[in-house]
Symmetry: C2
Subunit: 85 residues, 2 copies
């Protein structure tokens, strides 16, 4: 069975407070990077899954995001890329 490497972005939902992003922005300002207007921090996950086809791999990863990897109340996720491992 082919193996796929699926990349996922999990990001705070728009309109939800993003304290980690605010902390990063403030720290960058303190370090002199005044050009930073905004910062958001999410997670970048890379999953290696065995699946018969690319569509099955992405469907499986979506199920994993729904069940475990993303908080459905506060976070959105998107499949950022799929490639043969």
């Amino acid at each position: 069975m082919p193996r796929f490497r699926v990349a996922v972005h999990v990001i705070p939902r728009k309109g939800i407070l993003d304290p980690q992003g605010k902390a990063v922005r403030d720290a960058l300002h303190t370090l002199g990077f005044g050009s930073v207007v905004d910062a958001h921090v999410g997670r970048h996950l890379v999953l290696e899954v065995d699946a018969p086809a690319e569509a099955d791999a992405t469907a499986g990863v979506r199920a994993m995001c729904d069940k475990l990897l993303a908080n459905p109340v506060t976070e959105d996720y998107e499949i950022a890329g799929v490639q043969l491992a």
Copy 2:
């Protein structure tokens, strides 16, 4: 001055222990997702920066990664994308 949205991936360096990735893989197995062979967890940062040109924006973000956003001993980073905000 134009505003750019720069996306950055910060990922654990290859060969370095990735306990968070291992925890995710084990949790997915427990939930019945046995097709997952490996999982890696990094950070997905989106920075909005004011810069005269795209090259200046990415150069600035690289400096931020070197100084604050990535741990130079255990992590690698890559600019995942740049677009006008």
